[in-house]
């Protein structure tokens, strides 16, 4: 049942204001794209809990808060940002403050010949012909309101282009910093990654809230992989606990390409990540692994959709959730195997750990299969720390708190160990216990 979504007057006026703004140097096709998406958003409106996909995600606070487009240049110094990014020892770092590219806070050492990594706004002007075939083509704004909203306000973000047969060894670090200055700011960053045939790279997307405060990040990332491309994607979401974060990752995979994503989602009052993988040609592999944690009154949601459109593709999903306090978590995963997508091998696992009496989890793993020569399975569990193991640890001299913490960490680390890049794996390994300890001290004060 489709309910008519909500569009507040505020968004209507923001939209028309944005449309009237001088488009600067943006090419005509970008403006057309924005207008089409804007019109679509006006039709769609914000989803309500009557929409099946949004049944457990209530976006009313996003709709009702008077968010307005983020101020152009808040003052952040390199020193302020340093503690949050130094772990990566970045050699290629693109930094965005409230959605706008900040050249001062970015580092770009020599990249291999032909590789582009820079601001999307600049690239739209300079390398328009690289972007035009892809931008807005993979993230579907026709029926996804937040993608439509992002596209309508499309302005800045990151653009990475890898020519065929190139390899970028050092990870490309894309940092989105939000720094609210007492205003409820909204930003619509956009990321487009185009990896040519047989190219190889690692990208980290990181979302940081530098100050506690109310803001809303509505990001859309499009990744296009050419034939035989190998791409490692990482997502670190550490928004402020008062912030709203809606992210859509759309991946389009060519023949024999490999896409791997690891995500860690810990922040936000309401944080939702959508991953849409399209295995558009034979032999491609898509692996998604993610860990989500929520405490207090946080709401975290992971929504994946893997579309096996062609034969002989493989997909793997492993998502783990740790929920405490009054937090609620949602996992909604769908595997779609189209007719004739034979020899599909798809697996999906979702495990949830409930640490407190008031935490809630909704998990909906779905299989939709239209071909017979397939191997598809999914599994989902909801449980708590194993008493026997807790007892064992205590019998070895650990106190209850430590035993719990250790087990919670172990639950999460099963997933982290798959991360190929050392510094990224170490960072994930470092963040998890920190989060766990914080959660325990909040949920079970001594």
């Amino acid at each position: 049942m489709k309910d008519i979504g909500l569009v507040t007057d505020l968004y209507r006026s923001e939209l028309s204001r944005f449309e009237r703004e001088p488009a600067g140097t943006m090419p005509a096709w970008v403006q057309q794209l924005r207008q089409a998406a804007g019109a679509r958003f006006a039709d769609l409106g914000f989803p309500t809990t009557h929409h099946e996909e949004w049944r457990h995600t209530d976006v009313t606070p996003i709709v009702e808060n008077p968010f307005s487009c983020a101020k152009r240049r808040p003052d952040i110094t390199k020193a302020e940002l340093e503690p949050a990014v130094s772990w990566a020892g970045p050699r290629h770092q693109l930094t965005f403050v409230n959605g706008h590219f900040s050249p001062l806070l970015s580092v770009l050492e020599r990249l291999p010949q032909g590789v582009i990594a820079g601001s999307l706004a600049d690239s739209c002007t300079i390398s328009s012909n690289f972007l035009e075939p892809h931008l807005g083509r993979h993230a579907n704004y026709e029926d996804q309101a937040f993608v439509a909203l992002n596209t309508a306000f499309l302005n800045d973000g990151a653009f990475v282009y890898l020519p065929p047969n190139t390899m970028v060894e050092e990870p490309i670090f894309v940092v989105f910093v939000s720094c609210p200055n007492g205003e409820a700011a909204i930003s619509h960053p956009r990321v487009l990654i185009v990896a040519g045939p047989s190219s190889r790279a690692t990208v980290i997307e990181s979302y940081l809230g530098l100050k506690d405060g109310l803001y809303f990040t509505n990001v859309v990332t499009e990744v296009v992989l050419g034939e035989e491309a190998v791409f490692d994607h990482h997502l670190l979401q550490q928004e402020s606990r008062a912030a709203y974060h809606i992210a859509t990752l759309a991946v389009h995979q060519g023949r024999n390409s490999t896409f791997t994503s690891h995500s860690l989602a810990l922040g936000g009052a309401l944080a939702r990540t959508e991953v849409h993988g399209l295995l558009a040609d034979e032999g491609s592999t898509c692996t998604l692994r993610g860990l989500y944690g929520a405490t207090g009154r946080q709401h975290v949601g992971i929504h994946t959709r893997i579309d096996h459109a062609k034969p002989r593709c493989t997909s793997r999903q492993l998502y783990k959730g740790i929920l405490s306090g009054h937090a609620s978590g949602v996992f909604h995963g769908r595997i779609l195997v189209r007719q004739d997508a034979h020899e599909t091998d798809a697996r999906q696992t979702n495990n949830n750990l409930l640490l407190s009496e008031d935490a809630v989890v909704h998990t909906t793993p779905q299989l939709e299969i239209f071909a017979d020569d397939v191997k598809c399975s999914h599994g989902a569990t909801v449980g708590q720390l194993d008493r026997d193991v807790l007892f064992y640890l205590r019998s070895r001299g650990l106190d209850l708190e430590d035993a719990r913490r250790l087990m919670t960490q172990a639950f999460g680390s099963e997933l982290i160990r798959f991360i190929a890049h050392d510094r990224i794996r170490n960072r994930f390994t470092e963040l998890l216990p920190r989060w766990t300890s914080q959660t325990y001290s909040e949920s079970f004060p001594a």
Binding site: T364, E368, C376, S377, G379, A380, V382, Q384
Partner: protein, 480 residues
């Protein structure tokens, strides 16, 4: 492998129960309005509370929209073209089997229902429902000695109105959903069963439903009440003649298990599935729900769904009593252009409640088979446990199998596990069977029966045999 051949063979399978019985029937004109409801109620000589209840449901139904969320596709149903009441013409309700129209008895004979009590031999008490009315209930006296009431719903309304009034609509309220509301307004008959305190029903109770007249919708209602410490095992079977039009079947089943009571409810659903092109067949839109109202009570649903053009059915259990147990075992086979969207809901309200879900879906030809389930554990329902497994088997590359489970847990002391898989029959398994001397067909049948074994073993013996045979017949020639 000549799978194309197999599918053609399957198309040739004939629906054995597709005959019609030329029997004089008394029917209401097609269409639905308050007068029709008054007519049904008057025909049944119902007390006024029933008529009011029906009208309330009807008025509510008028405000409702047909649900669209199920993963099935069909042309809109014209609710004004359906005949809501049809009954074999008799002067009055027969007092004993000897008075039942021999034609009717012969019909049930053809269906293999031991109606004229091939008596002690069969040992199953049957209530047979023909179109809109219940035609015969066997073994009634024997059961009455134990205090068990097993009769047609309309009879229960006459003889035990207090029980009907107390329990009717308590599990599936008249406003529950579109089809349940429709059923509440127009249901004409069904079975009623009451097991008194501490009684263990000595035989399987059974209802047999048959749609005979054309254009008729069958709306029956079953109500089973198991008092404290009682036990009953109940079977339900269904068939219909072959007709080119679609016919609607919207039944409601309510089960109530009080303290320490146990109800086992088994269904073998073999409504006419339509021909290989999807012409005709029954729309089976059924609401089945049981409530474990008392502590330590137990309800189990076992279903074998092989018929119907479209099945839309979610036998559910509300686990209200502490330590109660809900179970759901299902085999759903869809072939040709059949569509099934079936599954269960387990609502855990009581503490330490347990539920088990085992669902096996088999798709062949162009059929679509969907499992849709909900496991919901509420905040106060601590220490709950659920185990769900749903497996799908695909025979043919044009069919689909879908799994849409939903799990909702609101406390930290409950455990839920869900697993699902979808595959086709392994070439290696078939190869192994063939090298042991089995034909490809026997191999498939053996593997499919093995696949369904977990569910079949929950069925009473006679039904398990019948179900296995049905499955074999429907599978004939699916693999070359």
């Amino acid at each position: 492998m000549a799978e194309g051949n197999g599918i053609r063979d399957l198309a040739r399978y004939e629906y054995k129960y597709g005959f019609t019985t030329e029997i004089e029937a008394e029917a209401a004109p097609p269409g639905l309005n308050e007068d029709i409801i008054r007519l049904i109620s008057a025909k049944k000589n119902e007390p006024s509370f029933m008529l009011e209840w029906r009208l309330k449901a009807y008025r509510h139904w008028l405000t409702m929209k047909e649900p669209q969320w199920a993963n099935v596709h069909y042309l809109p149903i014209d609710y004004q073209a359906i005949v809501y009441y049809s009954a074999p013409k008799t002067e009055r309700r027969p007092k004993s089997l000897a008075e039942v129209d021999p034609l009717l008895l012969a019909t049930y004979g053809k269906l293999g229902i031991p109606l004229s009590e091939q008596e002690v031999l069969a040992g199953v008490a049957v209530d047979a429902v023909f179109d809109s009315v219940s035609v015969a209930t066997t073994y009634k006296e024997h059961l009455a000695k134990l205090g068990i009431i097993f009769c047609a719903f309309s009879e229960a309304v006459q003889n035990h109105p207090e029980l009907v009034q107390k329990y009717l609509g308590t599990v599936v309220p008249d406003s529950d959903n579109f089809f349940a509301a429709l059923n509440s307004a127009v249901f004409s008959d069904g079975s009623f069963c009451y097991i008194p305190k501490g009684v263990r029903c000595p035989m399987e109770l059974s209802t047999y439903f048959r749609i005979n007249a054309p254009f008729i919708g069958q709306f029956e209602r079953t109500l089973i009440i198991a008092e404290e410490g009682s036990y009953v095992s109940y079977l339900e079977g269904c068939t219909a003649p072959m007709r080119a039009e679609h016919q609607l079947h919207a039944a409601v089943v309510e089960l109530i298990a009080l303290d320490r009571a146990q109800i086992k409810y088994a269904t073998v659903q073999n409504w006419y599935p339509g021909d290989s092109e999807g012409q005709g067949g029954i729309y089976n839109f059924v609401t089945k729900r049981g409530i474990c109202a008392g502590v330590d009570s137990r309800i189990s649903w076992t279903q074998v769904e092989v018929g119907s053009a479209i099945t839309w059915k979610y036998p559910s259990v509300v686990l209200r009593g502490d330590n109660s147990i809900g179970e759901f075992y299902s085999v759903a086979l869809t072939a040709h252009r059949q569509q099934a969207d079936t599954g269960t809901k387990m609502i855990h309200l009581g503490r330490n409640t347990k539920s088990t879900i085992v669902s096996k879906g088999i798709s062949a030809g162009y059929a679509q088979n969907t499992y849709r389930g909900l496991v919901k554990i509420l905040k106060k329902a601590t220490g709950c446990r659920n185990y769900t497994q749903c497996h799908s088997l695909l025979l043919g590359d044009r069919c689909g199998a879908h799994t849409f489970p939903s799990i909702e847990v609101q406390n930290a002391s409950s455990r839920v596990e869900h697993e699902a898989s979808t595959t086709k029959i392994g070439e290696d398994q078939i190869f192994y069977c063939r090298q042991r001397g089995l034909s490809a067909e026997d191999a498939v049948s053996l593997i499919v029966n093995g696949f369904c074994h977990e569910v079949f073993r929950e069925l009473p013996m006679e039904f398990a045999v019948e179900a296995q045979k049905l499955l074999n017949v429907r599978l004939e020639g699916t693999v070359g």
